[in-house]
């Protein structure tokens, strides 16, 4: 399809954030969401791999190491299609500002690094419109790694790319895997006009820049609620997201311990 929502003449706009695990993008989009909500705008937030039904299967697949690169790719594509057709597209059509923590570029980068043919992956997401604005949070690998380890004690199996058998050391594997993903993101950056944000700087500086760019690119006034009930506050917030992730996917070390029993 390769058109943005604006180019399709839909009243809403979609803003996506992309970046490595630990680049701080979730924090930034959360702060952006709060800022937009506080202005009384129609905002909807959606994150990668969050559709209820598909998540059960993904979680099972990850825990039991059932996933191959192809099924890993397809199960995330299923999750995306579910969210796209039931939430993202209808909300953009209803004039919402839709915020996405990761979008199709995550699949383009990750699945390709896992060995799926790039044209095949892109073909699967062909029906999806492009974001009107995509922020790419570019952080050094060490900064990403340290951010993850600050939030929780250990690396997760798939985020370290352990399924690719790049290294038996999860930290080394993380560096190689995320390094390859970073290369693909940078290659896509021009093709899809990413707004690159230096994610090595402080949270406040990044957020100020994000808000400035959003203001200059999107006519926020037109997303004000006029009439009708005030929007329900979103229940998902940053804290619950982290808690859930930790419960759902055992860390690499947990898995190792389990296997040795």
């Amino acid at each position: 399809m390769l058109k943005t929502f604006a180019e399709l003449n839909f009243p809403g706009r979609l803003i996506a954030v992309e970046g490595l695990d630990g680049s701080g993008k979730s924090t930034q989009i959360y702060l952006l969401k709060r800022w937009l909500e506080n202005q009384g705008l129609k905002v909807y937030f959606s994150e990668w791999n969050s559709s209820e039904l598909v998540k059960a299967a993904t979680s099972k697949g990850k825990k039991r190491e059932l996933l191959t690169p192809t099924t890993f790719s397809l199960i995330h594509a299923t999750d995306f299609a579910d969210r796209y057709e039931r939430h993202l597209l209808p909300l953009v059509r209803a004039g919402y500002l839709v915020l996405c923590d990761r979008y199709i570029f995550t699949a383009f980068a990750r699945d390709t690094v896992r060995g799926c043919p790039p044209e095949w992956v892109r073909g699967i997401y062909k029906y999806a419109a492009l974001p009107d604005l995509t922020f790419f949070f570019k952080a050094d690998l060490e900064v990403s790694l340290n951010r993850i380890l600050d939030g929780r004690p250990q690396l997760k199996y798939f985020e370290a790319g352990m399924d690719l058998r790049l290294s038996t050391d999860p930290y080394e594997s993380f560096r190689i895997f995320q390094g390859r993903i970073l290369e693909l993101y940078l290659a896509m950056s021009r093709e899809f006009s990413f707004q690159v944000i230096d994610a090595n700087q402080g949270v406040e500086a990044q957020q100020a820049l994000v808000r400035q760019i959003v203001t200059s690119r999107i006519d926020l006034e037109s997303f004000k609620y006029n009439g009708g009930a005030h929007p329900m506050p979103m229940r998902n917030n940053l804290k619950t997201k982290w808690r859930r992730e930790i419960i759902e996917e055992p860390s690499y070390e947990d898995r190792e311990a389990e296997q040795h029993h």
Binding site: L53, V54, A56, A57, K60, G61, L66, L67, T68, T70, T71, L74, I75, A77, T78, A81, D82, Y84, E85, R86, E119, W120, G123, I124, K126, Y127
Partner: protein, 220 residues
């Protein structure tokens, strides 16, 4: 998919519910095993990864078309990589009770983009032989009622809103599926088998064709 390294054969039986697929597969397995071939069976919605979730999704009828389509593709890919390919490498005869053609026909009837489907299922190896058991919708109704006394929601295409009358919808939907299969047959060249004949007659036809595949007469 590099077929040369796959020593086993992939035999696909397509057809609507009630077309006699399972009966014919049982007979093929018997025949193959009697002749010393090891067999493995796969089918739709049988993967370890997502079959339970897929079943649940269908009960609620809450998924949109692309989502359901990708869910089925995930189920297929799981069996492809964990059963079909390893079994074929090991020299097994793989019998598929339905394959990507059913999935494609279902989606095509629902108006999905053909190029998108072809890309999606580009991962599937070309079978050594594909049988499509063709049975007229009117006969399928009779066979279904003889077994179940109720028509299945999805096999009647009720999600398409063709008719509020399930009987009418079933006939219309199965007719559309048959049209898509005939179209796909022209592209992929599979064998259309007249499913109105006796079990023995059909079985004999399938066995002969499979025998030809085994001794390499088949051009595929």
């Amino acid at each position: 998919m590099d077929g040369a390294r796959l020593r086993g054969k992939l035999i696909v039986v397509e057809g609507a519910d009630g077309s006699g697929r399972s009966t014919q597969i049982v007979r093929l397995v018997d025949w193959l095993e009697a002749n010393g071939h090891a067999t493995v069976q796969v089918g739709l919605k049988r993967s370890t990864l997502v079959s339970a979730e897929l079943e649940r999704a269908q009960e609620g009828n809450i998924l949109s078309r692309s989502t359901l389509s990708l869910f089925y593709a995930t189920d297929f890919a799981d069996q492809l990589e964990n059963i079909i390919l390893p079994a074929m490498k090991a020299g097994f005869m793989v019998l598929a009770d339905r394959y990507i053609y059913t999935l494609m026909a279902r989606d095509l009837v629902r108006g999905m983009d053909e190029a998108w489907l072809k890309n999606l299922y580009g991962i599937a190896p070309v079978p050594d032989t594909v049988f499509y058991l063709e049975v007229a919708p009117e006969e399928l109704v009779q066979r279904t009622f003889a077994k179940n006394a109720a028509l299945d929601y999805w096999e009647s295409g009720m999600d398409l809103g063709l008719s509020r009358d399930m009987f009418d919808s079933f006939l219309e939907y199965q007719g559309r599926m048959a049209t898509q299969f005939r179209r796909l047959q022209k592209i992929y060249g599979f064998t259309i088998v007249d499913g109105h004949r006796s079990v023995e007659e059909i079985s004999q036809e399938l066995t002969e064709k499979v025998e030809a595949v085994l001794i390499g007469k088949n051009s595929h």
